[in-house]
């Protein structure tokens, strides 16, 4: 969506900067990086040493250990949290995009009565803060008998006005002649969606997928509300309960935090551009 991002960096005029000014600029930027990275550094160091080491502020290298990471899995059903987070995140990402993509296709490429009105209705829901639907959705989940289960964590998250809207905008940019040509060759709408529109929208879909992945992995309020047992808690929820119980077991808390960060960080390093695109595109990363 922002095709020039990153590319324009090279076109900045390379003139008019004295070495002194450049030095100051670097100093500021490095200081800023230090501040940004410090919490990660603290997290990592504390997680690699026994708690006593942190208390005494002495970190002799021979005491370095991965034991805290194993300990976290002993103290907490952290493996279970991890599986829950993975199942929920992958299901939500795949299904939400699939459902949104089908709806976006209808809104962008098919003609039916009430299309514009329905689309406006979808857009209007973007205005409604999620706190408004939180309570009724909790009650709906209870009524359906889904409380503290995977469906409770997954199903309500599958319907996103934002994803539908973004995909529809992208689909509209694809020339209609492609559909017509395919229809002439006898392709059904489903085929046009699957073999023309979706492949052509891959940049938008992948950016959206990465965004949805990290948003779901990090989601807090909804899983907090609909889970009650360790069997169903996701990593952020498990960690937050852990804070309550072991508020001074910093070595374990930090090890748990590192594990919680890892999957998203790995994706960030692998697909940095897509990631930044996804978050800036959806603009909802600000929360």
């Amino acid at each position: 969506m922002r095709p020039n991002e990153g590319k324009e960096v090279g076109t900045v005029r390379r003139s008019g900067m004295s070495p002194a000014r450049q030095g100051i600029l670097y100093a500021i930027l490095i200081l800023g990086s230090g501040i940004m990275l410090a919490p990660f550094f603290v997290m990592l160091v504390v997680s690699l040493f026994p708690n006593e080491a942190f208390m005494a502020r002495r970190f002799p290298l021979h005491q370095m250990t991965l034991g805290n990471y194993l300990e976290v899995f002993r103290v907490l059903p952290f493996g279970r949290y991890f599986i829950n987070s993975a199942v929920v995140t992958v299901s939500v990402t795949v299904l939400q995009i699939l459902i949104s993509s089908l709806a976006a296709f209808a809104f962008a490429r098919l003609r039916f009565r009430g299309r514009e009105a329905l689309f406006l209705l979808y857009l209007a829901t973007l205005m409604i803060p999620p706190q408004v639907t939180l309570i009724p959705n909790f009650l709906i989940i209870k009524t359906l008998g889904w409380y503290d289960s995977y469906p409770a964590l997954i199903v309500p998250a599958l319907f996103s006005a934002l994803s539908t809207f973004l995909l529809r905008q992208y689909y509209r940019g694809i020339p209609l002649e492609m559909d017509e040509a395919a229809r002439m060759d006898g392709a059904s709408s489903l085929r046009i969606w699957g073999q023309i529109i979706v492949p052509l929208s891959w940049p938008a879909i992948s950016a959206l997928a990465v965004f949805t992945f990290q948003a779901t992995w990090n989601d807090f309020l909804w899983p907090l509300v609909v889970t009650t047992t360790d069997k169903m808690r996701t990593i952020p929820i498990g960690l937050s309960y852990f804070v309550g119980q072991y508020s001074t077991a910093w070595h374990l808390l930090m090890a748990g935090s590192v594990i919680a960060l890892l999957p998203v960080l790995v994706i960030y390093f692998l697909a940095q551009k897509t990631f930044v695109q996804g978050i800036t595109l959806t603009g909802m990363g600000g929360r």
């Binding site: 940004m36 706190q131 309500p156 709408s189 807090f220 590192v258 919680a260």
Partner: protein
Amino acid sequence: MRKASWTRPGVRQGTGRVSESTLMIHTRHLDARPAAGPRRNPFRWRPDQQWEGYLFLLPSLLGFLIFVFLAVAASLGISFLNWGLTGPQGFAGLDNYRDLLRDPVLWRVFGNTVFYIVTIVPMQLALGLAMAVALNQPLRGQEAFRMIYFLPMVTTIVAGAIVFRLILSRNGPLADLVTGVGALLGLPLSLPDFLSSTRYSKWSVVILTLWKNTGFTMVIYLAALQGVPQELYDAAHVDGANAWQRFRHITLPLISPTTFFLFILQTIGAFQLFTEPFVMTRGGPAQSSMPVVQYIYDNAFRFTRMGKASAIAWFLFVFIFGFTLVQNIMQRRWVHYETE
């Protein structure tokens, strides 16, 4: 313009679909032609889009009906009910709303939320813009800096909150650092007790939020800065404008749509703040850092006062909606659109 339009996405929807119907009519006669290929199916390329449209929409629409449309209506309904430990207990009329106005805790937590908005939003805009301007220079390692600044954005809030609990705690690393610097300078410096003082607990949330979200502001600003035409700066340079004047009279007006977009987005985000204070301080001590959303959560899920909680949610919605509306009107005064 493109970015600002996210906040009022309905505005830019043209129809512009003349060509489609023309093409349909235009191609219809083709099915009278003798077989053009073996895979030709005369019924398939003249589909009943009326039904197909609904079919493609069906999964999404079903979910929206239940989890969005029904939920919004139910929320409004619940806000007019008395709700006890066992469930709804009759119609309350406007009582929930009337009680809200007299509830000192609500005004307290609302004040906290306003505090978060007026601290976080301007600081984040200023810091993000400063970082973007610094990075928008011909420098080596720009990509690396950008990656580092964006890094906190992708972290789990809970993990960030936990590590800041450690960093800001009474005998945490930052306290060490401050005392150490104090000793070096011969001053009795010490870090305020961020987490357990009613005076500073809100600031711990502000610090965490700034650390986490400023990178996002920076990335958006950076894209905007790169869209400012260099000729304008050159012309201003020739006219003798200094760096500050160029920033003030060229950069700021030209990126004002981005500022507007970020301003709205961050204010809405700050209205909805929950996880950061919840994990860091549980809203305490003595509700000093509790935001409105946590008050909704507590009422609904700790005290099962669903009616009251729903009323607070609508109260919040009205404020967010009103704010967005007012800003959309106000933007004419300070947002500069090139196209207009």
